[in-house]
Amino acid sequence: MAAVQGSLVESVDKKDIKTEPSEDGGGNNNNANDGKILSPSPAPTTPAEGNSTAAGTSVDQQTLLAVLQFLKKNKLSESVDILRREAGLPEDSLDSKGGDSSGEATGDAGRSADADGADASSLLSRVTVSSSAVAPAPTKAPSEDQPDVNVVLSAYSQQGDPALYEVYYKGLKKFIESVLDCHRAELSQVFYPLFVHMYLELVYNSHENEAKAFFDKFSGDQECYYEDDLRVLSSLTKKEHMRGNETLLDFRTSKFVLRISRDSYQLLKRHLQERQNNQIWNIIQEHLYIDIFDGMPRSKNQIDAMSGSLAGEAKREANKAKVYYGLLKEPEIELPLDDEDEEAENEEGKPKKKKPKKDSMGSKSKKQDPNAPSQTRIPLPELKDSDKLDKIMYMKEATKRIRLGPDNLPSICFYSFLNAYQGLTAVDFTDDSSLIAGGFADSTVRVWSVTPKKLRKVKSAADLNLIDKESDDVLERIMDEKTASESKILYGHSGPVYGISFSPDRNYLLSSSEDGTIRLWSLQTFTCLVGYKGHNYPVWDTQFSPHGYYFVSGGHDRVARLWATDHYQPLRMFSGHLADVTCTRFHPNSNYVATGSSDRTIRLWDVLSGNCVRIFTGHKGPIHALAFSPNGKFLASGATDGRVLLWDIGHGLMVGELKGHTDTIYSLKFSRDGEILASGSMDNTVRLWDAMKAFDDLETDDFTAATGYIHLQDNSQELLLGTYTSKSTTVIHLHFTRRNLLLTAGSYNP
């Protein structure tokens, strides 16, 4: 932060003032996170971030008024009050309030419905988004709110000679091409955002022909990974179009983040000042966030690796927060065997082989991992007897687990869905691999048993009355033998089912659908228990927490939500993505949630506070798959660009790139011990990667580098352990059994 402002703003105290409100003001913005690290721009007006930047500028107040008006119109008096209070009160109280509400959430999450309800509503109002509001596009309220939009767009109202735009752009291009090689790559980053903003300015000021000419002339120069956005841009030729176009509004409301070394930045600044090139300078100051660092300018490769997202790279500050990526201590269970803490020791060899040494194991498991969150950081459901039994089963299975490695590849069993007629949209396995569920485009959810044990319903209430409740096998007796079948169909959704997830205890199944609901199904009665309504748009993905009870969902409304099964309203809303949230994953310790989005970023959210703690950029296409390593340290992500990227969560760095797939990656999974990463793709292949090697080779010294960048070796080919092609069967789900057999699923499309 200091680095940024040092160059732009001379007054240090001003900076301090500004950072304070930003901590909380972020809540007012749709982009809760982006608001956090605020623009240090010295420009008098920062309209884009209107309501999130320091209150006091007239534009901000206008915006607030507009929002208030809107809320009033929609009879959301509570929100009006809160908003007014927040706007009116000094920053300190705001801060404390924020702390309060999050504290509340911690203590009460999942305990008391009332507290949660209040909490949720405060959360809601903080993002000025109300799911219950009947606004046409509730979750995008702030950006689609008419007055607000005008404010946003008015940033373009400055009049320059449209004919000169080309000259300006060309001049800058010439300059950047003439600078020293080491700076050229860095400065070239400016081209794209500049191009977009200049184009939009032209369009906004109704210089349609100039805009087209400008686009035709320079769109070819942009990096290929911006092609998708450019296409959207190209279709936008009229001022009226800008109003409804969310992508472009996002481009406006969030500053494009560039990371540039101080030297390069000075060079650019000097050039622009010498030339009196105010047009460009204004754009840079108003719409770009330049994250300046001291040190060597980055190379083209380094820049390319990190760029590609809709709004530039992540600010370094965004990834500075501490993340407790360690695993929770496994509960101690009285076993006929010894209790052992396996997952925590993945890295240290073969703990499960040493089962008899109970003492050493016991002491080890008691030692708290410094990176692990405290056991009670978020309230987790208590283990039931059946869960304990399952844990015991798990441990027994784990002792028989195959050690995988480059010389010991897993066997892969492929479950093909036949006669699905391209309708299969989502698949999930239970952790013990006994059940498989498929979501289909025809709105159905089907559950299969893949063991000889058939699926049975619980008997009807009348029949249950007749059962001897004292008998030992009461659990067996309540099942209705007549209903036994290999598969069951669950009807309820009214649109394609895009996400599906089993609860860890195998009693429930979640499904999310195009109809905007998430449904919770009982696997005892095979009926729908709850329909969670909150997303008003298609819900692309949902997943149960590894500890059960909580689940996360994300959808077209760009918000990821955290739910608890016994609350019909979300506990947390994670907003900040600039486009659809395409996939959601829980961290193994349930304290964090990772979301991937069409804006080509991955965000990690703290379940406790609802804050975004990591932003990973580098993908060049919408992200469709995420997987945490079993030790919680790493995250793997796959996107439509066919690449798998590996991330170090603790340091917030990209640590690997796996190239090989030729089409969208729809599934990723680490083996149970984290040695192997499997990826499944639309190109009909399953590929196995040596995850151990990928993470071992890290040069940890680089972590401290100011660039926040680690040198990536191009060793995809070495890390690739195997490629297995299926017969025109898209691979859409991968699952490692407890013994490390890889199960894959997909539908056969002849």
Binding site: P136, F215, D216, S219, R231, S234, S235, K238, H241, E397, I402, D407, N408, L409, P410, S411, I412, C413, F414, Y415, S416, F417, N419, Q422, L424, T425, S433, I436, G438, R446, V450, T451, G495, P496, Y498, E514, P538, D580, H624, T664, Y666, M682, V686, E718, L720, L721, G722, Y724, T725, S726, K727, S728, T730, I732, T737, R739, L741, L742, T744, S747
Partner: protein, 651 residues
């Protein structure tokens, strides 16, 4: 209107997907006008048209982009109308109902008169037709099927998996053997050692520095493949026509056959060799149909096996005798069919380096020119040449028409030498007429004068003339239909039995080392079995039986966490089901036949008991018949063993 909309969306979306630059594509204003007119707005101003079309184009693009999102989340590559419906729903627009189309793009394109037109094909359907048509089959319900994609890093060659080596790779393997990569594994050297374990793993690092040696080419057939081979070959030459059709269909379409290709090729060439000797027309026909099926299979790289297949085919074209009763049996059909096959393979495989076509042509011409050539061979040569196309007919056959005509005349009108010769001459005549007429019709200007024809073509002239005239009228009618793909057997069914036991033995014992049973059991070494003993064939399959027995307790792959994956468990269950018929086959082959069957020799042994007496004489004919058909030295059928006749002893 809605059609248009849907279509536009589909078009645009697919264009987007193909990442085309669509910057300046907007709807033509004429469309706007047309649409306006269709809703009753006449006289739309040009300016409003432009504005409208820009707006509409923008909105359609927007919807198309949203629809793509649904396609991606639906994990599909094709955009469907439901995606567009969903995208419309996102925009709070009522979706368009009733445009579910099974076909991808439901409209047709027509052009003519300088106009291009896209239209939606809506047929008028008679309601009573719908009512009266029987209900279609209920579509199958979604079901789940498991198979092994990989077993400890190696992809098993089972039908569920894609063919281990695509045609390109087969080609690379055969043409550039030094770059051979083990099928089913990646091209990377490091992976290659994996299956073999530690020994190879050691050498992994050093690999790069060393000269790459041509690896020993292995042809391992899985148990399933062996069974498949057996079933297929049996069905192909068996007596059940339905089964044969299925088997041929399988050969023509299955993608994973390349590993069995050497066996099939040997099976065919050996089969032809033996059956020519025995004049077993039916079996020859079956074998030719197999060749046809192999050639129809797009995934096979046949070039490698032409040296076996072409001599076999040529034998069937020109062999002096193909059946027991040349006067009755329709061996001509076989010759025609084989000639077509030959022409087809010339078309597909002839290159400047192998010169198949010219070599074949030379061979045919040479034996045709030979005066001593029999009518049957003569017929084959002509048929073979004629099938090669109009050019060959024009340059090679037409000039010889008069000579051939004279020869035919000599037989037809001269003293009756033998009935067989007469039939032969008759067939040659009609063959010549058939093929030459159409060619002459093309190259010869009208009018068709009988006398002129007689002068030009001699004896055949007048007949040719009438045929040419017929051909001309036919050509005019555009009704020329020549069914060239199927072979119909006009011959009465021969009372032959095919020894299935002998068949089944042909693959295994001939090259026993190729068979690799996953459970590391090895097959019995080949030894000539005594036919009276049923045991040798039985022992052959004991291996499978034992392994099947071991695995029989393990059910089909269900949930696999409870069982450690091993090749045996995955491959063997299917064996156990198909094993039974195998064992049963043996005794059935035994009593039906009386000949001894040294195992390494016989592909198809089928001796009609009536023919056994004449066997000695026939067999002596064999070398001659082969030599007459063999091609240039390079293509000659090389046999290390002497033909079957020497070891064959009739009982």
């Amino acid at each position: 209107m809605e059609h248009l909309f849907i279509n536009l969306c589909l078009f645009l979306a697919m264009a987007e997907e193909r990442r085309q630059k669509q910057c300046s594509v907007i709807l033509p204003t004429e469309s706007m006008k047309a649409m306006a007119e269709s809703v009753g707005v006449a006289q739309l101003q040009e300016e409003s048209c432009v504005t409208l079309s820009e707006e509409v184009s923008y909105r359609i693009k927007e919807i198309a982009q949203d629809a793509l999102k649904f396609m991606h989340h639906g994990k599909r590559r094709k955009l469907t109308t439901s995606d567009i419906d969903n995208a419309l729903k996102l925009k709070n627009v009522e979706p368009l109902y009733g445009f579910q189309s099974q076909e991808f793009i439901p409209f047709r394109f027509a052009s003519g008169g300088g106009r291009e037109l896209h239209f939606y094909e809506e047929k008028e359907v008679d309601l009573s037709d719908i009512i009266n048509t029987p209900l279609p089959r209920v579509p199958l319900d979604v079901s789940l099927k498991a198979h092994w994609l990989s077993i400890e890093g190696v992809q098993p060659a089972i039908p569920e998996n894609p063919p281990p080596a695509p045609k390109e790779q087969q080609k690379i393997e055969s043409t550039e053997p030094l770059k051979v990569v083990k099928p089913g594994q990646d091209e990377e050297g490091t992976i290659q050692g994996k299956g073999q374990g530690a020994t190879n793993a050691d050498g992994k690092g050093k690999d790069k520095g060393l000269i790459r040696l041509k690896p020993r080419s292995t042809h391992e057939l899985s148990v399933e493949q062996q069974l498949y081979y057996k079933e297929i070959t049996e069905a192909c030459v068996g007596s059940c026509e339905a089964k044969r059709a299925e088997a041929l269909q399988s050969i023509a379409t299955d993608p994973g056959l390349y590993q069995m290709l050497p066996r099939f090729s040997t099976f065919i060439s050996e089969g032809v060799r033996v059956n020519v000797v025995q004049n077993n027309l039916a079996l020859l026909i079956y074998l030719m149909r197999m060749v046809k099926a192999l050639m129809d299979n797009p995934t096979l790289y046949l070039e490698k096996y032409l040296h076996e297949l072409i001599p076999a085919v040529v034998t069937c074209i020109v062999s002096k005798q193909l059946c027991l009763r040349p006067d009755v049996d329709n061996h001509w059909a076989l010759r025609d069919f084989a000639a077509r096959l030959m022409a087809q393979s010339c078309k597909t495989f002839s290159t400047t380096t192998n010169n198949i076509q010219s070599r074949i042509t030379k061979t045919f011409t040479k034996s045709w020119l030979d005066d001593k050539t029999q009518w049957t061979t003569r017929y084959g040569c002509i048929a073979g040449l004629a099938e090669l196309g109009a050019d060959v007919i024009k340059t090679l056959i037409l000039p010889r028409l008069s000579v051939e005509g004279a020869r035919i005349k000599a037989v037809m009108e001269g003293p009756v030498v033998s009935n067989i010769d007469k039939i032969g001459a008759d067939h040659v005549q009609s063959l010549l007429l058939k093929h030459c007429a159409s060619v002459i019709a093309k190259i010869r200007p009208q009018p068709d004068n009988v006398e002129q024809y007689r002068i030009d073509y001699g004896y055949l002239g007048p007949m040719l003339c009438s045929h040419v005239m017929k051909a001309r009228t036919q050509a005019a009618l555009q009704a020329q239909q020549v069914n060239r793909t199927t072979l119909t057997i006009t011959q009465p069914r021969p009372t032959l039995t095919v020894s299935q036991g002998g068949l089944s033995g042909s693959a295994g014992p001939r090259t026993p080392s190729i068979i690799k049973v996953p459970s590391s059991l090895t097959l019995m070494s080949p030894r000539p079995g005594t036919p009276s003993q049923p045991s040798p064939p039985a022992t052959k399959y004991i291996v499978m039986a034992t392994s099947a027995g071991a695995a029989s307790t393990q059910q089909v792959i269900t949930i696999s966490s409870s069982q450690s994956p091993s090749p045996v468990t995955s491959t063997v269950p299917s064996v156990s089901s198909t094993l039974q018929p195998l064992v049963k086959l043996e005794p059935s082959g035994g009593p039906g036949l009386t000949s001894s069957r040294p195992l390494q020799k016989y592909i198809v042994v089928s001796l009609p008991s009536s023919a056994s007496s004449s066997l000695e004489t026939k067999s002596s004919v064999l070398p001659a018949s082969i030599s007459s058909t063999s091609l240039d030295a390079g293509m000659k059928l090389e046999r290390s063993e002497s033909p079957g006749a020497s070891t064959q002893s009739p009982h």
